[in-house]
Amino acid sequence: MIPEDVLSSMEMIRDSARGITGQDLTRIRKLRYGSPGFDRAVWSEICALGWPALRLPEDRGGVGLGLLPYAALAEEAGRALLPEPLIPAVLASALLDGAALEAHLDGARLVIPAWTEARGTLEPAGDPAIRDGKVTASRIHVPMAAGADALLVVGATQSALVAADAPGVTVITDETQDGGHVAAIRFEDTPCAVIAADPRPALAEAALATAAYLLGLMEGALDMTVAYLKQRVQFGKTIGQFQILQHMAVDARLEIEVSRASIEQAALQWDREGPTPAAQAAISRAKARASASAMKVTRDCIQLHGGIGFTDEHDIGLYLRKAMVEAARFGGPSQHRARFARLKPVMQEA
């Protein structure tokens, strides 16, 4: 059971999130397919609210909240389809220190982590090659890199912090379905500061936060869809009267209920016992569930909208496009199922 004080900090953070995210998707739609694809002024507000510092202990300048409140925040971000790079920034916060951390937290110098060389994994890449304070490495699928002031080349035991405009940095940016972008980045003898840290716990937290983002996204999509079902008339009935559409909506609601339970339980366990194998497995379970559910729910929301759902003009498609991107980030269903199986072999539990 979630303790009362955690529940109330979750409520508080939800309220504060709603202040940022606004009531409709007009802002989100405007930012799509542009560069950097998010609003730096909004990012400053976000930093002022302390979100990137949420998970940091107070002695590192943070807010000291648990993973559960972070999940609540990510959920609200997902409901609003927030394009600002909250989850990457929180990941960076966990690895940075000193002045770089301070500048990152106050929004002056946004650091985006570049942690993978491969698709479909939650394992960080090997350590980047660092010689004479210069780093050489390649990273792919770096989100919103075009909006970063600095990049953190994350490795399994040590990471390298480089300025985005440092020499030897080659960025190839690809647009993503949701209107954002990712980059493949080559670092070639790029001057850097070295940070020793194990990124795995923070990566697992990012996976859980992404699951929560997907949860909020599903909620937003279903809310919009249920409203449509109550309003659209065909064959002389509001279409929400048709049993088959009712059941599709109920199935979507169930996916959401289960995703929420899975995510909250995983976060609660992590907050209680830290990154134990069981808590790691719970995060994989939650991410696998949320990714699969989000794809199913947003697909079905399109279908429930009928023709209008297939237009880019209608907002319902924004949820599907965002799900296409976030479902795979920090591992999708099959990767997390495999990770779960490794963490909890068949014979281990009843």
């Binding site: 059971m1 979630i2 249920v226 079902l229 109550k230 509001t238 929400g240 009267q241 049993q243 009712q246 059941h247 909506a249 109920v250 199935d251 609601r253 169930l254 209920e257 289960v258 929420r260 339970a261 899975s262 909250e264 339980q265 719970a282 994989s284 379970r285 696998a288 569930r289 199922r337 495999a338 779960f340 199986a341 909890k344 068949v346 014979m347 539990e349 009843a350």
Partner: protein
């Protein structure tokens, strides 16, 4: 057995974790080992020893107040009790008296009825069964037609009930009967207690798909019942029965069936040497994740009870989720068995491998206690506010 060690004045005073440990200890020390994880619902003959142990220990009725001989557990503690019983694979006894009738009597019964019936439920003297469904009143329960007509000091009952669980083991049946045919279907229904040895009652077992006789039809042909056997007010039976849905609703959504099916799947994997087969491991992991997800949503709803909140219609999500998972596990298990899945007797004579029976049992899960389809209808209106 040292029952007294488990008799406390106030279980609710224990910290949750201590109470949980107590329940575990109780089960470990008292539950008959051969009755754990039963493949089918137990008949009274098999269940009696366990029922009497619960009775002697005062652990039979976790949901009844202490002054009626129950454990008097608050909702949170009731949950722990249920969770640990489920986890342990404790056998379900013929428990309609404790689970359904008891709370109804406690809420709506006369002092005389309480004094007479409650102790006899606890002692095992009266085993009760439930007479709600009828051949034309299944999903549409309010359509029931078994009628009771007052004739002097007696109700004369005519009609038929169906899907009565373990009727053959029971001494008494509590029925919803029609006492008024005018007005809306939901009105004019009363709650009547009938001894099964009354002349005019015929019980006919129904063999189900598991080839088991868990259910019966019960026929009433001019069955005469004392006027005082009505519980609560005449024509208020529907409302009373609906109001009582609480403690037992969460039972319907517990992970027990899926957990049992998954345990069989694991044993089958072992039996067939598939524990290192990547395809099996992938499917198994998927199911285990779903089961743990179900446990998570079950706990989430349980937490509401713990906080003293009333369960809304969304509790039905538990049953929908669990029964769908239960069916999918057994469907995969059956296919995994290939030709062995067609065998009638459990493989190697072991209930641990009896997947075909579990598969058949799973068919019922989406029908009884409200079909999946009817539950989704209700949820669409009650939770999504669809027209």
């Amino acid at each position: 057995m040292a029952h007294d060690a488990f008799k406390l004045d106030d279980y609710n005073a224990l910290p949750d974790e201590d109470f949980r440990a107590l329940v575990r200890r109780f089960l470990a020390q008292n539950h008959p080992p051969h009755l754990r994880h039963p493949a089918k619902r137990l008949h009274w003959d098999d269940a009696e020893p366990w029922y009497m142990i619960l009775s002697a220990a005062g652990w039979l009725a976790p949901n009844w107040p202490r002054d009626h001989g129950g454990m008097g557990l608050n909702p949170g503690k009731q949950l722990i009790y249920v969770e640990e019983f489920e986890k342990f694979g404790a056998a379900r006894t013929p428990d309609h008296g404790m689970m359904l009738l008891g709370p109804l009597l406690i809420n709506y019964g006369s002092e005389e009825q309480k004094a007479h019936f409650l102790p006899r439920i606890l002692s095992g003297e009266h085993i009760w069964c439930q007479g709600y469904s009828e051949p034309n009143a299944g999903s549409d329960l309010a359509n029931l037609r078994t009628e009771a007509v007052l004739d002097g000091d007696e109700w004369v009952v005519n009609g038929q009930k169906i899907w009565t669980t373990l009727a053959g083991d029971a001494d008494w049946i509590f029925c919803l009967v029609r006492t008024d045919k005018t007005g809306k279907k939901q009105e004019g229904i009363s709650f009547l207690l009938i001894p099964l040895d009354t002349p005019g009652i015929t019980i006919r077992p129904i063999i189900n798909l598991e080839l088991d006789d868990e259910f019966s039809e019960v026929f009433f042909d001019n069955v005469r019942v004392p006027k005082g056997n009505i519980v609560g007010e005449v024509n208020q039976g529907w409302t009373m029965a609906k109001n009582l849905l609480g403690f037992e609703r969460i039972f319907l959504g517990g992970p027990r069936q899926s957990a049992s099916a998954l345990a069989k799947l694991r044993r089958l994997g072992q039996h067939y040497g598939l524990l290192d087969d990547p395809a099996f491991v992938d499917r198994y992991a998927g199911f285990q994740m779903e089961l743990e997800d179900h446990q998570a949503i079950f706990s989430r709803v349980a937490d509401k009870l713990r906080r003293g909140e009333r369960l809304g219609p969304e509790v039905s999500f538990l049953k929908l989720n669990q029964t769908a998972l239960y069916q999918r596990i057994t469907e995969y298990g059956l296919e995994l068995m290939a030709e062995d899945g067609g065998l009638l007797a459990p493989l190697m004579g072991s209930n641990d491998l009896a997947m075909p029976t579990q598969f058949l049992n799973a068919r019922a899960a989406t029908i009884y206690g409200g079909t999946t389809q009817v539950q989704k209808n209700i949820l669409a209106k009650a939770v999504l506010d669809l027209p």
